[in-house]
Symmetry: C2
Subunit: 587 residues, 2 copies
């Protein structure tokens, strides 16, 4: 067996920030070198960030990525790190090859490269392009077909990219047949609830298939609608975890491995690019104790993802502060707490906007939260503004309710424009799925931290967060006491837009609504399948009607300004968080 | 040569309205039979409408489409149309076949079927799945691999689906090798500016490749963000157009063809499903004169697409009326005119919402348009409402400007909620691309008719529409005089949100801005490429800065409520216009 110390750099990349991301690679490569690593690996699309969406179709961006990669290789050497092999993801393009109608312009590649000695040693690209869930890679990439195998200290290391690991056959099988001693997978794999276990099982299975150890490095950080959790891992050839990085934080996972030395002769395969950096195996030696982080429990994971997603959306878009309405209800209370944890309570601005229908309890409870967290607060009764509209318009029912929500949104937006705060929105997944919110009212805002969180989970997260008071967790503000008043968690939910209004007058109880919503909205189960799964038939039909017809929003009013004829020219789909700018002078 | 009279049913399908779409098939099949056709063909995904987006992933919807197809076959026979072969698109699923991670759930197929004698004779599915521009078919379909060849009156007719025609090789080549006498392509191909010529050239090329006549039937109608223009066509084996349907209207294109009779023996190919409906060729006979519609000119095409897109969005979503703000400027004037053409001026409600910065000319010009078109109008000065906010908030510059736009949006939305009108939005592509609009203000609304139209084209369309006064075109309201006051077309553009404001104080002149926007936003050209294409370097840099940083909206404030962590469960991407409902009792 041969000794290899590998370092997996689980870092936070920003879309479009080629210079900043290159700085991160240099900084963490230095840490790896200082830790005595023989190889350091960075995530998929490290240099460009992920997902780049239609930026991949802009030639100038592809070329900037190619230049950044070459520049990074030189800089690593200039800074004395040229001897350390560095594997990193970046954006490249295919030259030649088949062209077909509708192929992504410029044939962009989701690529990875080995850098060594100031040069780009070998380039490869992702074979399997995911196009499901949050992924749209068929739209923006063409497929790669090469497998790089690089010999480092006598060990053959094969590299694959993310989805290549999830698909049967393909480069993982090829790596096994190529006799690789280590399979290195670079990833930008977003957090999903319960996905960590799926990923670990997958790594174990692929290691057994390839018959070698597998090192999996993942991105960490929030990027627009996605949150990457890290959770990088190393498993041995029988699938046993040898090392695991903590979730939701940057981490250098350094692991000593005893790996089979490459044989004297290797099978010949035209699809494999073989390179030898150092042929002589290092003698096996006692391993340093590896990091084996425990994964977070379910609620901690979700809360950490929300905090990281919020923090990075604020930070990566150049904001320093947020503003949100605090109603005295659970949703806005949880969002305020997430914001305090993400950017510190001193950067959180809340506004209490009571109407004639707001209960006194709501105002008092909101004020209690303000005191507990020390956020900036201001109270503005909205009666004058609402009445100015009502003098001109004769509004009833839903129209009158919505007006109040829209006056509040106007105030958030005015404060945002005047002071540069980002508006956070408080809507949860249960109410948004059922249309129980006001378009351009409570649904307005720049970032909606709990939009993908069902109401039952909102309550669970609030209780979980209160239970952490005094705990020392990297993603929490150190409130010494419970940040959310208990009364806010236990009170009956109400929108308070008309006298005596309660959620349960309009919606089924959340304890039965949320499970149906999960099966219908997330799992695409139809009516009969929902009933067969044990949901009450009347509840199923009511929920389907709410979601499809959206009594409060979609039926009365279809969604916003995105709907338009778009046949006249192509529109770009671009990341919102994007630091890349076209060069302002010719280069 | 054998005689075949074919009918191409260029009809308007609605997503999810399986019953209504089946009714349409029966009605137009009857018309085809009455016209003596030997074969009638309907568009791609006729039964379900197109695009169905993630509805394809719901098993109950796939099963409903399968049942609707079988029911349609029976019903055609029951109504005495069983002898007429009917080709139609629908949604099916693959049984068996390979399964991979991330494959669309249930393996949905974009399918076509031949119906005859009360039965489904043969089914096939699209081979090539477009995943560029407005298409996301890799997300929701798996690929087909069969080519049906059906003998009708002694002629072998092969059917392919839309994108199969756009890709080299594949089923078109196979149809040629199979010795087909007619290649029939069923399509849902959205209108794009200048695409009609591209499509005709494509049909001609593929006919030559396959060595046989080609019949191309396309959908017509608006569906959410897409507009299908029809423009169905029949070309002979050397690519010469034999018949062409008018654009943007439903039409039955009946064409007499002299086609080669199928040979006694045909090549054997396991991927081809051959069926014989009627082996004996009909003797060739003199053809009836075919329809050869002239395509519309560029501006007429665009205007027709906007009218049809608006009419169908209103109608298919169950609205009967619209409301919009009329500022006295060109954008809202054009949108009001499109609305009058689409649904009649009696269903158009405009509100004039002057502020302290509105010029007297604006109000007078808007009132003149109201008189010319006879739309419903109401004037509500917004000063009281704006001042009610300003008493509580100390707003300056952009924040004060945006407040006025948001107060106006509140009024549109209140009128929408109170009276059930759909809000139309007036923003054009130039101002939206550069961020020269207010989030939740003038950009708010349910449908934005000119969002994909650059400002220069807005002016061209207004002049074109005025020039049609008194003309008899199927997509125009018969105004006897010019519907848009000339002064609105010639006046200097201004948002009128502060004293003396003009667009050109913030934006480059539209004559130079629009061409740069087209190259940057639609063609993804980078800075150097834009300069190399002849655009002024300073203008290019200014435009890129406007678009990327979006001085008015995106930089001050990132886009709306869509941004949220979405890692916790999958969300559906569903059509907004969708008539399909889960069955409300077990079937």
């Amino acid at each position: 067996m041969a000794h290899l110390r590998i370092a997996l750099a689980q870092v936070n990349s920003t879309v479009g920030d080629l210079d900043g991301n290159a700085d991160t690679v240099v900084e963490w490569a230095r840490r790896a070198a200082e830790a005595g690593a023989h190889l350091v690996a960075f995530p998929e699309m490290m240099l460009t960030g992920y997902p780049v969406e239609d930026l991949a179709l802009r030639a100038s961006f592809v070329e900037a990525s190619q230049r950044a990669l070459a520049g990074l290789a030189r800089r690593l050497a200039d800074e004395g790190l040229g001897d350390l092999p560095v594997v990193t993801g970046y954006l490249d393009r295919r030259t030649g090859g088949p062209v077909r109608a509708g192929q992504p312009a410029g044939a962009p590649l989701n690529a990875a490269a080995w850098l060594h000695g100031g040069e780009v040693l070998v380039r490869s690209a992702k074979h399997h392009l995911p196009n499901y869930g949050v992924f749209d890679e068929y739209r923006i990439f063409v497929q790669g077909d090469r497998l790089p195998v690089v010999r480092v200290n006598g060990v053959d290391v094969a590299t694959v990219i993310c989805e290549d690991l999830w698909q049967d056959g393909g480069p993982v099988s090829a790596a096994g047949e190529a006799g690789a001693g280590l399979l290195l997978a670079v990833n930008a794999s977003p957090y999903e609830r319960d996905k960590d276990d799926v990923r670990l099982d997958l790594c174990a299975r692929r290691a057994r298939e390839a018959g070698c150890a597998l090192a999996y490095v993942n991105m960490v950080g929030g990027q627009d609608e996605l949150v990457f959790d890290g959770d990088s891992v190393v498993v041995d050839p029988d699938g046993t975890p040898l090392a695991r990085a903590p979730q939701f934080v940057e981490h250098l996972l350094v692991t000593d491995l005893a790996l089979p030395a490459a044989p004297a002769t290797v099978p010949d395969d035209a699809a494999i690019d073989r390179h030898v950096l150092s042929a002589a195996p290092l003698p096996d030696r006692p391993a340093e104790p590896p990091t084996l982080a425990e994964p977070l429990d379910d609620l901690a994971e979700i809360y950490a993802a929300l905090v990281l997603g919020t923090r990075d959306y604020v930070r990566k878009n150049g904001f320093r502060s947020v503003v949100l309405g605090l109603s005295g209800g659970i949703d806005s209370a949880l969002v305020a707490t997430i914001a305090s944890d993400a950017i510190g309570p001193e950067n959180v601005h809340v506004v209490l906007l009571p109407s004639r229908h707001s209960s006194e309890g709501s105002v008092v409870d909101a004020e209690d939260l303000v005191k507990r967290q020390g956020v900036n607060a201001r109270t503005i009764p909205i009666a004058d503004m609402v009445e100015a509209f009502e003098r001109q318009l004769d509004l009833h029912g839903l129209a009158a309710e919505n007006l109040q929500a829209r006056v509040r949104a106007n105030i958030w937006m005015a404060l945002s424009n005047e002071h540069g705060h980002l508006v956070l929105t408080g809507g949860n997944k249960s109410e948004l799925a059922t249309g129980y919110s006001t378009l351009y009212g409570d649904s307005a805002g720049g970032f909606a931290p709990i939009k993908d969180v069902f109401k039952l989970t909102v309550w669970e997260l609030a209780r979980w967060r209160n239970a952490q008071a005094g705990a020392d967790l990297p993603f929490l503000h150190p409130f010494p006491h419970e940040p959310i008043p208990e009364v806010i968690i236990v009170k009956e939910p109400s929108a308070e837009l008309r006298p005596g209004q309660r959620d349960r007058d309009t919606l089924p109880e959340y304890t039965v609504l949320d499970p149906v919503l999960a099966d219908y909205v997330e799992r695409d189960m139809g009516r009969d399948a929902l009933v067969a799964a044990g949901h009450d038939a009347a509840l199923v039909e009511r929920t389907i009607r709410l979601v499809d017809l959206a009594e409060y929003k979609r039926r009365q009013y279809p969604p916003g300004p995105k709907i338009t004829p778009k046949n006249f020219g192509r529109d770009r789909r671009l990341p919102i968080t994007n630091r890349w700018r076209e060069p302002s002078t010719r280069s």
